[in-house]
């Protein structure tokens, strides 16, 4: 059985169809909350799609970030948004129609391009013949990391990954800068926030038993990134989700007592600082930035093993930043910036 026939194309078509339905529904729904839920369903479907493409690492991230955390963030934000239906004026109608025409033209152009794209999972396609073989053949010998994805992500292209961690950090910073302003205009909106005095005992009990497991699993995902799908991003998101769950099942005050605002900020910057600091240490020791081989002397191992250790260290940095940023985003968005009370 070749690679090609093992793929169930009917299954793909089904997922694709459901994704289209979800996307259209999310746009058509009038309630923001239901829209957010449908978007979560969309993320879950695309996660199945990634799994089917054997891109398990991506699927993992999508499940954690797209299906779980962003849905919660949408829900947290939606409670502050007043919503009314605006009647379109003729001019706006016209603009919408033009937009539709442009979108259709773009779609036709892109579909037109599929003619000469390589077949799905074609082993002779440029993407599988140009660089990938070199990565697959050499990654283990050059970085002592069996998971090629981790080796590419955190070593060959670690400069990209560092800046992706910086993007995550910047997201938290931007939300903080925008929402936590002293002059709050939307105090009015905060009255709409329902009081969450008494929480359900069942919820608390469930949270108590599930959160420790989640956190241990998050650490496992992070540290096992060398050998299996996972790594800093996924581990960090799961760890962050455990704090969000705590805030959801108890309340924001409770979770912020466990993980204080100041500590969150330090972790946001600290993770990136660890990553960039390791890079700078390599630079200081005469190698180029992020050339983990420079650490061989300090660690007392070979260059190749030093690369493996370097990967682990930067993954921990990514994990810390992602975890703290997820918590920070939830705290800000769900409380409207005043950190008083969340969802």
């Amino acid at each position: 059985m070749t690679w090609d026939t093992s793929l169930l194309w009917q299954f793909d078509i089904l997922i694709l169809l459901m994704m289209v339905i979800c996307a259209v529904t999310a746009l058509a729904l009038e309630g923001l909350l239901s829209s957010a839920i449908v978007t979560g369903a969309y993320s879950f479907l695309i996660c199945l799609m990634w799994t089917h493409m054997r891109a398990v690492d991506v699927a993992f991230t999508e499940a954690a970030v797209g299906a779980a955390i962003s849905t919660v963030l949408f829900l947290g934000t939606a409670q502050y948004v007043n919503r009314w239906i605006k009647k379109d004026r003729p001019r706006e109608q016209g603009i919408k129609q033009i937009t539709l025409v442009i979108a259709v033209i773009c779609a036709v152009m892109m579909l037109n391009a599929t003619r000469d794209l390589p077949e799905w999972a074609d082993p002779a396609s440029p993407a599988s013949t140009h660089l990938s073989p070199r990565y697959i053949e050499q990654a283990y010998f050059e970085t002592a990391t069996p998971n090629v994805v981790t080796a590419v992500l955190a070593d060959y292209r670690s400069y990209d990954t560092m800046f992706e961690a910086v993007v995550v950090f910047a997201a938290a910073l931007v939300v903080m800068v925008v929402l936590r302003r002293t002059s709050h205009k939307h105090r009015m909106a905060l009255h709409l926030r329902p009081k969450r005095a008494g929480r359900d005992t069942v919820l608390r009990g469930a949270a108590q038993s599930i959160i420790p497991v989640m956190q241990i699993f998050a650490l496992y995902v992070l540290f096992h990134g060398h050998y299996s799908p996972g790594g800093g991003f996924q581990g960090g998101v799961i760890f962050g989700a455990s704090f969000i769950l705590l805030a959801l099942c108890y309340n924001l005050k409770f979770s912020m007592n466990r993980f204080r605002e100041h500590a969150v900020l330090w972790c946001c910057a600290g993770g990136v600082l660890l990553y960039a600091g390791i890079g700078a240490a390599c630079l200081a020791m005469g190698w180029n930035f992020l050339g983990y081989g420079a650490l061989a002397g300090v660690l007392g191992v070979s260059d190749v093993m030093a690369r493996s250790h370097g990967i682990l260290a930067v993954e921990i940095g990514v994990g810390i930043t992602v975890m703290a940023v997820m918590v920070s985003l939830y705290n800000d968005l769900a409380s409207g910036g005043d950190l008083e009370e969340g969802l």
Partner: protein
């Protein structure tokens, strides 16, 4: 240490931004000092790299993580990017010095976080310019975009709403770019620019529809980012409602760096041959550019708000730059690249001068210009220089870029673009003449008494000398001098930087 300058240049602001996030308790002076030191470090590294590039006459390559490209990511600093890098870090440093009063005025709280985003934006722009990898460019594009959303949202009035529109447009632009890179990757399997250039020059890929779609998507994305004429609607509101420091930082740099990215994609990843022979767009693009130049200036003429006026001038200048790049001859290319540098400085100078006027008068309409030469002689003088440069008066750099662009347009026989350049120049002259006339002759009390109105009972506003503070004046004067300096050393800039970066085949 010299061979590490490309990395140091980008990393110093990153570290500064991380530190700035955490030093809130140390107060605003510490934040201001740290920002200036870090960006000065970047500027020093950028200058060192440029000297190295000019002396050796070849591009500096820096392998991130000691991996050989195309396996790893490399930074490539050639004659084109070296100039842009110095421009970015110099503009950012001048803005940082300038920000002492205005940033505190606009950000009564969380000044250190504001500065952290400032440093991140600079790092993002430098990284975009220095990189030799199309995906890495996307990541840094995201960093600069994200930090600019945060900075712009801290503006006044409806800044949130304008920034939200910018966020939507910017995200669409970035998605187009990423989608285009995806198509190119499927067809080539590589992300390194030099490697891509080699693969894409194969005949079977030159004819491929997918590659063409990929190119179109990338260019469309970049056009949205640089606000080329029909895609510019997000820019004026987003920039004119921003705080003064934010506007001074973002207005000159974001769009210019996007133009740089367009040049990179056109001539480094693809080739002049592919752009002008295989894709026959240049006529259409030059019409768009001409429309941008003329309509931008006409709209600028009809604005009452000073900063909005300036934002429409940016839209017009983008027209000049795009037209020059698509003229497909050496003079046009020289004009476009030279104009990136010239327009960066011009826009910075205009925004700083207007920022100083707004800081002192508290008004941002054209009425704030009344009696400017008496009240703020230095600011008014620098504004005059910047205006002369936008119009294209000889000793300033604006003249030389226009000269090259006109030469290129005539040589290519693009008479529409020639006409657009001349008309836009004349419109700019009318616009600045009106403003400066008011600044020189117009006095508020004169205008009122002439009308014989009884409402002038209130004591006429006494005209005092109230020049902007020194931290604002110093960068303003340096920028004004730089406009002359760049103009006088045009020959050297063209000879040592631009001529070397001339792509093959034009």
């Amino acid at each position: 240490m010299m061979d590490q300058t490309p990395a140091i240049m980008i990393l110093v602001p990153v570290f500064a931004s991380l530190a700035l996030t955490l030093i809130g308790p140390l107060g605003h002076r510490a934040a201001y000092g740290l920002l200036i030191i870090s960006i000065a470090g970047s500027l020093a590294a950028a200058l060192a790299t440029m000297v190295q590039v000019v002396q050796t006459g070849q591009a500096v390559h820096y392998r991130m993580g000691d991996w050989i490209p195309p396996m790893g990511i490399e930074l490539v600093i050639d004659h084109l990017s070296a100039g842009v890098l110095v421009l970015i870090s110099a503009c950012a440093l001048l803005t940082a010095i300038y920000s002492m009063h205005t940033a505190r005025q606009d950000n009564p709280d969380r000044l250190n976080h504001y500065y952290a985003l400032f440093a991140l934006l600079v790092a993002g722009l430098l990284g975009m310019t220095a990189t030799g990898d199309v995906f890495n460019l996307y990541v840094l594009l995201e960093i600069s975009a994200l930090s600019s959303y945060g900075l712009l949202a801290r503006g006044k009035g409806k800044a949130y709403y304008a920034t939200f529109r910018y966020l939507m447009m910017g995200t669409i632009g970035a998605s187009f770019y990423l989608l285009g890179v995806g198509y190119i990757y499927i067809m080539t399997g590589s992300l390194n620019m030099a490697d891509l250039a080699e693969i894409l020059s194969r005949p079977e890929l030159e004819a491929s529809v997918s590659v063409r779609i990929g190119f179109s998507l990338i260019i469309l994305g970049v056009w949205i980012k640089m606000a080329l004429f029909p895609l510019h609607a997000w820019l004026p509101n987003a920039y004119s409602r921003a705080g003064t420091t934010t506007a001074c930082l973002i207005a000159p740099l974001m769009t210019k760096v996007s133009v740089y990215v367009m040049l990179r994609i056109m001539f480094t990843v693809f080739s002049a041959d592919y752009i002008f022979q295989q894709i026959a767009w240049s006529r259409l693009v030059i019409y768009l550019a001409s429309a941008a130049a003329v309509l931008g200036m006409i709209t600028a003429l009809s604005q009452r708000d000073l900063r909005k006026m300036l934002t429409y001038i940016i839209v017009a200048e983008i027209g000049y730059l795009t037209g020059g790049a698509w003229l497909a001859n050496t003079a046009g290319y020289t004009g476009a690249v030279y104009h990136i540098l010239a327009d960066g400085l011009m826009t910075l100078c205009l925004f700083m001068a207007v920022g100083a006027i707004i800081y002192r008068t508290g008004e941002s309409t054209a009425a704030a210009m009344q009696g400017l030469f008496q009240r703020m002689p230095v600011t008014a003088g620098v504004l005059l220089v910047a205006a002369a440069s936008v119009v294209g008066v000889p000793p300033t750099c604006g003249f030389f870029s226009k000269w090259y662009l006109l030469q290129g347009a005539v040589k290519a026989g693009e008479w529409v673009f020639v006409a657009a350049l001349i008309i836009a120049g004349l419109l700019a002259a009318i616009l600045f003449f009106r403003l400066l006339e008011r600044a020189f002759f117009g006095r508020l009390e004169d205008a009122v008494t002439e009308n014989g109105s009884e409402k002038s009972q209130e004591v006429p506003r006494k005209i005092r000398l109230e020049e902007a503070p020194l931290t604002m004046l110093l960068p303003l004067v340096i920028t004004g001098a730089a406009l002359f300096g760049l103009g006088i050393y045009t020959n050297e800039v063209v000879q040592y930087l631009i001529r070397w970066s001339m792509p093959a085949g034009i």
